[in-house]
């Protein structure tokens, strides 16, 4: 019992969770609107797309890389899917768009993975470049513009609800989209991959020490390649889901999301240097960002100030965890010294 408690207090996730709780209580006290069914459903719904992006960003960070191209990748995949299905007069269900997004995402991810995995080039540089290429391709070759109409299947998927929550006081209702299940599935698969397969342990191993990973028998290049393929697939699906949920396709609307997503992941305790972090932490960190982005209005903070709050949260949050690491190693040093002296 004592051991588990110690383990919990030593972990970043616990602090993020406490901050989440504190923020929730604060909003509740100020507005009385936080712990209402519809608000919670709204937050869960707002979490779907950022949450899926975060899983992708998390995978790459764990492997020791970084990906800043996923919003552009998602935009391109979603736009290409929506546009081609519209042109073809597609009237079927959501399965085909998702499948198409998976394929396009895998191809675009493979583009990143080829350069970063097999040619061993810097992930930051490649994905920055890839981001421009994807965006340029979408705007140039596909001549992207806002699509106010989307295929009926996607439209239906975007409005279908698992259940609806109604606020007893104001009477506002919020739908829990079916897409939430996709998000849950992505998290579950990622968790299984990372914790229960040697491919996933390999991602951690590579992030910890690529040379050792190679010596231990991991195929470092292939693993890195597939990480980017998987991230491409997850991001592309997230892109299509966003289009479904918005009921229209806005090609540039997702661009620029990468920084807050990565910040959320790091806030959840994932090491920016790779190898360390948990999916739980990643989700909590992302949830914190989503909550701040969506709920500040409830405590009367004007939306224009939202960015300041998110920014401050990132600085303070990551700063505190960095300080903790420093203090912990310092304390360990001191402990060693003292016990060493007593032993003599």
């Amino acid at each position: 019992m004592h051991k588990t408690l110690k383990k919990l207090t030593g972990r970043n996730e616990s602090y993020v969770f406490l901050i989440l709780l504190a923020l929730g209580l604060l909003i509740q006290i100020r507005s009385g609107q936080f712990f209402t069914g519809n608000n919670l459903v709204d937050i869960a719904s707002a979490m779907i797309v950022p949450g899926m992006f975060a899983v992708g960003a998390f995978l790459v960070l764990i492997s020791g890389g970084i990906d800043v191209s996923f919003p552009a990748l998602a935009s391109l995949a979603a736009y290409a899917t929506t546009k081609s299905l519209l042109d073809a007069g597609y009237v079927g269900g959501v399965w085909l768009p998702i499948l198409m997004a998976l394929v396009i995402g895998a191809i675009l991810g493979a583009f990143n993975g080829l350069f970063i995995g097999y040619f061993d080039l810097n992930a930051m540089i490649i994905t920055l470049g890839a981001s421009s290429v994807f965006k340029g391709f979408m705007q140039g070759t596909l001549e992207s513009k806002q699509l106010a109409v989307i295929p009926t299947g996607m439209k239906a998927f975007g409005t279908s609800a698992l259940f609806t929550a109604t606020n007893r006081v104001s009477g506002i209702t919020s739908r829990m989209p079916v897409a939430f299940l996709v998000f849950v599935a992505v998290v579950a698969v990622a968790w299984f991959l990372l914790n229960k397969t040697y491919f996933g342990r390999g991602i951690y191993a590579i992030g910890g020490n690529p040379a050792s990973a190679k010596a231990a028998g991991f195929n470092v290049k292939r693993t890195k390649f597939f990480v980017f393929v998987i991230v491409g697939m997850i991001s592309a699906v997230a892109g299509v889901i966003r289009v479904c949920m918005m009921q229209q396709c806005h090609p540039t609307n997702m661009l620029g999301m990468e920084m807050n997503i990565i910040a959320g992941v790091v806030l959840g305790g994932t090491a920016i240097t790779g190898g360390a972090g948990t999916l739980t932490g990643c989700m909590l960190g992302t949830l914190l960002i989503v909550m701040v982005e969506n709920s500040m209005i409830l405590i009367g903070v004007p939306t224009t100030w939202k960015d300041v709050f998110v920014g401050a949260l990132i600085v303070i949050g990551t700063g505190i965890s960095a300080m903790q690491v420093k203090r912990a190693s310092h304390a360990a040093d001191k402990a060693k010294k003292i016990t060493g002296k007593e032993a003599v």
Partner: protein, 495 residues
């Protein structure tokens, strides 16, 4: 004679036209402790990598355990019973001890799905082999260097290893830990496992190995029984040069001390340290890793300002709260870890040399004086015989010994009266080590500099210092002239 376990014959390897190995051969008997020695860049690492399947050989044959090995990859080497423990131990600091131990086995068995139960069993089995007590759920990053090494050794033993190659295994270990390692090596030998021990440390070669092989610039120089080897021969084989080891005697010692320390203390590290240093003498300070010797050096140079006591320069009290203060008081410092504290590795050798005297390289218009800079650089490259085709090359291109010369040049360019060196020859090849020693002795003898040499290499302090202080638990336990001083005496005050 028994059949050799490993027989590598006429191995050749070139990298981009550089002939790294020229027809070298190596023979290791079953259950033998064999030492492979040679200076940096002599080709020993290349040979290890060829034996372990990391590099492909250009020509030559390798026979292992009676079987010809053709083109092999690292996994083949492991399945054949060849294990390498690299200097960085190839561990994953971010994973638990259990995972570190079990991953290789699981991957070799081509498993795809993780079973923590099976991993734990593998790990428990592995640590039991060398009776290694460790918390399997601890992150490897939290272990000490010696423990990390034990993790690497335990892991290596799981594959029915017949030959374990240890690449400079003692580099980061304390004396006690080295002894513990040697015990384990002997235990492995009892189990019939051959050890190829790569080192350039003379005392270790003598202590642990039965036979030795020495390489120099990619060629085999000699191979034989360690019993037939002595220090002079070893050094000669390694460097191809003869060195006269003259113990240092202080000749022109100044009357008054140039640096005095009175009751100096740094909370948690050392206390009540007092000594005098006169110009022209070399004062040795030794002690175990946690004796406070390194902290004392940092305090004298102002990196970690003292919390009590006084420092006097030529009888006048000075306040040394920062390296800048120390430099102003004409104190120079060659730090312990030249890579992280002493050098700007990606920058040029030239810039590294002039960095500390940059204030003096100014023209009348307060702009940078290129001519003066070049003159300084040429002077120091020549003076310290820094082996480089071009001082504008990055410092990282130099060998350890030459890098240390650059650190020395940097401080000497500032014209210090007192020079403090912490472990100046750690990781430096023998040739450079001798040159550095000779140079330091020259500085004291001819330039009348006062030198403080901090080191746990006892032959180094005995041979190069005129006086010696021994620290233990942050206090001076022994002070003596080094004349007729023997190692056991020093050790008894250290432990």
């Amino acid at each position: 004679m028994a059949q050799a376990l490993l027989k590598a014959v006429d191995i050749n390897k070139s990298f981009a036209g550089v002939h790294a190995l020229k027809n070298v051969s190596l023979e290791i008997m079953p259950g033998e402790i064999h030492c492979l020695a040679g200076e940096n860049g002599c080709g020993k690492s290349t040979l290890i990598k060829i034996i372990s399947g990391v590099y492909e050989r250009d020509s030559g044959t390798i026979e292992f355990n009676g079987k010809q090995l053709g083109k092999i990859n690292p996994i083949d080497a492991i399945t054949n019973g060849i294990q390498v423990i690299y200097q960085d131990f190839s561990v994953f600091p971010n994973l638990t001890v259990m995972e570190n131990l079990a991953l290789n086995t699981e991957l070799a068995a081509k498993r795809r799905v993780v079973s923590r139960k099976r991993m734990r069993r593998i790990a428990e089995e592995a640590v039991a082999k060398i009776n290694f007590q460790v918390d399997l759920d601890q992150l490897v990053g939290n272990l000490s260097v010696a423990e990390k090494q034990m993790v690497a050794i335990s892991r290596a033993l799981m594959f029915n290893a017949k030959l374990i190659i240890m690449d400079e295994p003692t580099t980061a270990l304390t004396k006690k830990e080295v002894q513990a390692l040697f015990q384990i090596i002997l235990k492995l030998k009892e189990q019939g496992i051959a050890i190829l021990f790569v080192s350039h440390k003379l005392d270790e070669v003598f202590e642990i190995s039965e036979r030795f092989t020495i390489f120099r610039s990619g060629e085999l120089v000699v191979t034989g029984r360690t019993a037939d080897l002595n220090e002079q021969k070893f050094t000669y084989y390694m460097t191809g040069r003869e060195f006269q080891n003259k113990p240092f005697t202080a000749e022109k010692v100044t009357e008054a001390p140039i640096l005095s320390v009175r009751d100096l203390g740094l909370e948690g590290h050392f206390a009540d340290i007092s000594f005098d240093l006169r110009g022209g003498e070399i004062l040795g300070i030794t002690g175990l890793l946690d004796s406070g010797r390194s902290e004392l050096a940092l305090t004298l140079f102002g990196v970690r300002p003292a919390t009590s006591g006084q420092i006097l320069r030529s009888g006048k009290e000075v306040s040394i709260r920062s390296p800048r203060d120390a430099i102003r008081s004409k104190i120079g410092f060659v730090p312990e870890d030249r890579l992280s504290e002493g050098l700007f590795l990606p920058q040029s050798i030239a810039d590294n040399i002039v960095i500390s005297e940059i204030d003096k390289l100014r023209t009348a218009h307060r702009t940078f004086d290129e001519k003066k800079r070049q003159a300084e650089i040429d002077k120091w490259v020549k003076e310290l015989a820094i082996a480089t085709p071009n001082p504008d090359n990055a410092c990282a291109t130099l060998s350890g010994g030459n890098q240390q010369r650059v650190v020395l040049a940097k401080w000497l360019a500032c014209n210090p009266d007192v020079l403090i060196l912490n472990g100046p020859t750690v990781g430096v090849d023998i040739g450079s080590k001798h040159d550095i020693h000779a140079f330091l002795q020259g500085l004291a003898r001819d330039a009348g500099m006062g030198i403080i040499l901090i080191s746990d290499d006892l032959p180094e302090v005995i041979g190069n210092c005129s006086r010696l202080l021994v620290l233990k638990d942050g206090r001076v336990t022994f002070e003596s002239s080094t004349q007729d001083l023997k190692e056991p005496t020093i050790l008894s005050h250290m432990m």
